[in-house]
Every structure is written in structure tokens, then in C-alpha cells.
């Protein structure tokens, strides 16, 4: 079968790859593109471990065909830190031990980042509802929610 050729922008850089028509974006990221930060948990859009943004909108990369990336812009966990400098959310997750096994963490970070870009001052309830599509079987969520709220507060202070 002839593979499809896809041109897209990933983490700000133009990228091209080949895929099968039924490959998901997650397959393409973890396969030909070598970006294995996005994880496959459920492969059915329930767990959020494969969260990315597509044209700045939070989505599950397991629920998107790789071919759909043509002409669009994608951000993944790999684009979150600037070189060695971690994003404030990443730093805070480390400081506050908001992770254990780490499988959900890249999805949590991508989703939390999408929330704070949209709403720099979320309530605890808003954080919990926003992250309802990101499942974590280790932490019990409290440390994650607190880390997101704390990061939001610090980022607001830094912006002043």
C-alpha cells in the first residue's frame, strides 16, 4: 500500500513523515518521528496519556489519524522545556512530587499547560474538571492539582 506523505509543524519545526492511512498521530509521533514522550495508555481517548495540542487545542493523539496532521501545527511534551530550562509546570511537578510512575505525566503537563494558557487563574474545581480526561493511577491527583494551582500562582506573579 502506498504510504501517505504528511507535512506538518511539530514544536515549531516543519516536519515531514510517511504513514499508513489508519496510523494514529500517536503512532506517527512514537514511530517515524521518534517523539516518545507522548504515551499510549488506553488508545481509546479515555486516559489522556497521549495528550498533544493541534493548532493550540488540546486533543488525544490516539484519536487523530496521522494523515490529519497535514497543514496543521502540533505541540508535544518534547516542546515544553526550553533546552535545559524546564517549563514552570515541569519544575513544580518535580518539586511537589506530582508524579510517581510517570506514564500519565507528559499528558498531565500538556493538558495543564493548555489550561493555564486559556485560564491563568483556575479554581481548584476548574483544574479538576479540566484534568478529568487525564487518568493517574498513582498519585490520587491531589499533588497534581496542587502543583498546577501553585504554578498558576507563580506564573501570575512572574508576569506582573
Amino acid at each position: 500500500m502506498a504510504k501517505l506523505h504528511v507535512s506538518t509543524i511539530i514544536n515549531g519545526e516543519p516536519m515531514e513523515f510517511l504513514c499508513e492511512p489508519n496510523d494514529t498521530m500517536l503512532d506517527a509521533l512514537r514511530g517515524p518521528l521518534g517523539l516518545t514522550g507522548s504515551k499510549e495508555g488506553c488508545a481509546s481517548g479515555d486516559c489522556g496519556a497521549c495528550s498533544i495540542t493541534l493548532d493550540d487545542r488540546l486533543i488525544c493523539s490516539c484519536l487523530m489519524l496521522a494523515a490529519e496532521a497535514e497543514g496543521h501545527e502540533i505541540h508535544t511534551i518534547e516542546g515544553m522545556a526550553h533546552g535545559d530550562k524546564l517549563h514552570p509546570l515541569q519544575q513544580k511537578f518535580l518539586e511537589m512530587a506530582a508524579l510517581q510512575c510517570g506514564i500519565c505525566t507528559s499528558g498531565m503537563l500538556v493538558a495543564s499547560d493548555a489550561l493555564l494558557r486559556k485560564n491563568p487563574r483556575p479554581s481548584e474545581e476548574e483544574v479538576r474538571f479540566w484534568l478529568a480526561g487525564n487518568l493517574c493511577r498513582c498519585t490520587g491527583y491531589d499533588k497534581i492539582v496542587r502543583a498546577v494551582l501553585e504554578t498558576a500562582a507563580e506564573m501570575r506573579e512572574a508576569a506582573q
Binding site: 492511512p21 481509546s44 481517548g45 493541534l54 487545542r57
Partner: protein, 289 residues
């Protein structure tokens, strides 16, 4: 084995041509949040996927000249939420669309997909029925319109003809004093399938309900338009007698199944309870408009 082909045409005519030619092997891709899961589970093995999101009309959201709204069948819930006016005019429709799945799913999932997936429990459908949405469909024999409640034919089935694609939803202009709301019963707080879902849209003038529509989901093979419930509300001041009559009409309309989510008795009772609660929210919103 049939090979899968992927097409993303930029014109509706091209999409319809390819979709009609593929026959039963063709599947429309809007947000993909149902289609990809079904493919992954092996339930569906399409020979052709027609991605309709590159067709401008399929994702456009616009206010019509008469004060109504028209939005493309593939517009995502998040796109509707980000529209500056849509949620102000149709808060019930918006809350229903954005009860579907997680934020990630809402970034992709569309009202058109929710309708065409044909689930009796699709959250956006009762709210659309209550809103009086008209759908535009187009196929090899041209374009036609139908009321949204005429689209579902049964679980997983629609009344669209072979080769027809759902193009857009049109919501009517809102008279002053109008409000809508959607509530569903689920055992969790988020990301679950409705056990019962109720959409109510009404107009209140001088304290009297002058127009109402009620959509009821997850209690029959298709989402229902409950005309008897609307009749009980219209002409009343939404007093207890009217609400009780409307609730009884909703319960009477139920033809539910027993399953792990809820029993027949439970669903039938909850349909009435939710009617009252949803009407109260819609009425409050109507006062503010």
C-alpha cells in the same frame, strides 16, 4: 482484505462523490472520537475514510441574518465554546455538547458526529431537539433539510440516505425571554454516558410560558421529542401542577432498557425529575434574556 484509503477533499461535491461511490465501505471522519475507537476495537473496517474538516462549511460557525445560528456538522465542541456569542444565546446546547468526553475529546468531537453516531444517549442530541435545530444534509441527489429529531433511526442508525452527508445545524432566532438547558444523570461527575438526559428550551412572556420544546435522551431507541411535556408547560406559569404534568409526560414517553447503568424503573423516574430541574434552569436563564 480491503485496503483503507484516506481522503480529505476541500469541496463538498468531491466528498459526496467519493462517499457515495464507496457505498457501505465509506465512513465520514469529523472529530473521529467515535470512528477511531470503533476501528481500533475492530467493530468497523472501512475501505474509505472521508475527512470533511477541510471543507469550510463543515466547520464554520455563524450567526444568520435573522438572529439564528448555523454551524458546521464537524465544528468541535471547543470551537463552539470559544465562539463569543454562541454560548450566550444557546447555553443549553453548548453545555450539552461540552458534556461529551474530556477536554481532549471536546477539542475534536462534533455535534454532527454525536448525532450520526446514533447513540440514544448522545448528550448533544436532546438539547438540539429542544432547540428546534434543523439539519442540512447533502447527497448525490442534492440538498435537503430535516428536523434534528428525524435523523436518528435507532441505536447506531440514521435516516440519512446512502451517500448523504450531514452538513450543518441551523438554530432558530431567539425571541426575548428565551432560555435553554440540558441536564443528564450519570453515576460519576464527568466523562460518563447519560443514564437519562433532558434538554428544555422555552420562552417566557409576562410570567407565562409561551413556547417550549423538550428533548429526552437515553430512555428509548432514539432521542425523543416529548410534545406532551411541552404542551403541559406552554400556557402555564411553570407552577407545580404544570411541572408535575410535564414530568409525568416525560416518564410516560420512556421506553428504556435495563442495563448496568440503570433499571427501567429508575430511568423512568429520573426522566421526570430531570425535566423539572432542567426546566427550572431554562426558566431562570429566560428571565435574564
Amino acid at each position: 482484505m480491503t485496503e483503507l484509503r484516506y481522503l480529505a477533499p476541500s469541496s463538498l461535491d468531491e466528498a459526496i462523490g467519493a462517499f457515495a461511490t464507496a457505498g457501505s465501505a465509506g465512513r465520514i471522519l469529523a472529530g473521529g472520537t467515535d470512528l477511531l475507537v470503533q476501528m481500533r476495537a475492530g467493530v468497523l473496517k472501512p475501505g474509505l475514510i472521508v475527512d470533511i474538516k477541510k471543507i469550510a462549511e463543515m466547520t464554520a460557525i455563524e450567526e444568520t441574518a435573522d438572529g439564528g445560528f448555523r454551524f458546521g456538522a464537524a465544528a468541535s465542541g471547543m470551537a463552539l465554546a470559544e465562539h463569543p456569542r454562541f454560548g450566550k444565546v444557546w447555553p443549553g446546547v453548548l453545555e450539552a455538547v461540552n458534556l461529551i468526553g474530556s477536554k481532549q475529546v471536546q477539542g475534536r468531537a462534533s455535534a454532527g458526529g454525536n448525532l450520526c453516531n446514533g447513540s440514544p444517549a448522545g448528550d448533544s442530541v436532546p438539547a438540539m431537539v429542544a432547540a428546534g435545530a434543523i439539519v442540512t444534509v447533502q447527497g448525490p441527489n442534492g440538498r435537503r433539510e430535516m428536523p434534528v429529531e428525524k435523523v436518528p433511526a435507532g441505536p447506531g442508525r440514521t435516516n440519512l440516505l446512502p451517500g448523504e452527508i450531514l452538513v450543518s445545524f441551523t438554530l432558530p432566532p431567539r425571541p426575548k425571554g428565551s432560555g435553554d438547558a440540558y441536564l443528564r444523570m450519570i453515576p460519576r461527575t464527568e466523562m460518563d454516558i447519560a443514564v437519562v438526559g433532558v434538554g428544555v428550551s422555552l420562552t417566557i412572556k409576562d410570567g407565562v410560558c409561551t413556547a417550549a420544546r423538550v428533548g429526552l435522551g437515553a430512555v428509548a431507541p432514539t432521542v425523543l421529542l416529548v410534545e406532551d411535556a411541552a404542551k403541559a408547560l406552554i400556557g402555564s406559569k411553570l407552577d407545580d401542577a404544570a411541572l408535575n404534568a410535564a414530568a409525568a409526560a416525560c416518564s410516560a414517553a420512556c421506553r428504556p432498557i435495563d442495563d448496568k447503568r440503570g433499571t427501567i424503573v429508575y430511568r423512568t423516574k429520573v426522566a421526570g425529575v430531570l425535566l423539572k430541574r432542567t426546566t427550572a434552569i431554562a426558566a431562570k436563564r429566560a428571565q435574564g434574556n
